[in-house]
Amino acid sequence: MASVDDAETNKRFAAEHGGGFPILSDPDKTAAKAYGVIRTDRPPEQQFATRFTFYIGADGKILDIDKGPRGTGVSVKSAGEDTIKKLEALGVKKK
């Protein structure tokens, strides 16, 4: 997971709510902008990362992008199970 929060905040967040994967911090928003998750029609102080999920293949190419049912972000409630379903659909083997 990744957000534009600073590293210290995400460290605390992961400690409380983490799911066994690292939470990445991108406070200067460079990667967030490159991935197109920043709304440029909003002022900078409201530019948080949109809930888009990227599935990146072994070759570094994008396999799939989940932008949610309305294209505005994935569902918070079903994000976990949606991700597992998507990985199964993409034929990604479990560890």
Partner: protein
């Protein structure tokens, strides 16, 4: 239980009174906002190379995308820590 109900009823009346006060000022409701299409900082497509990054993780390590070549990576962006999911 009775006490809870009475509090609820009181709150309900308060809301009604506020609504009445609001409508009594003769203000016309604001015009519906014309939907502005969301504009995003980039528009990546399936098949594009995922942009390289090197970002600090909550585990204290720096995670570079290219270090994961050969593995599938799920990169799930979210808006803000401690904001309900």
């Amino acid at each position: 239980m009775l006490k809870l109900l009475s509090v609820c009823a009181f709150a309900g009346i308060g809301l009604l009174a506020m609504a009445a006060a609001g409508s009594g000022q003769g203000q016309s409701p604001p015009p519906p906002e014309t939907p502005v299409p969301a504009q995003y900082s980039a528009d990546l497509k399936v098949g594009d190379m995922a942009p390289e990054f090197a970002l600090p993780g909550s585990d204290g390590k720096v995670h570079k995308l290219s270090d994961y070549r050969g593995k599938t990576v799920v990169l799930a962006w979210f808006p803000k820590a401690f904001t309900g999911g």
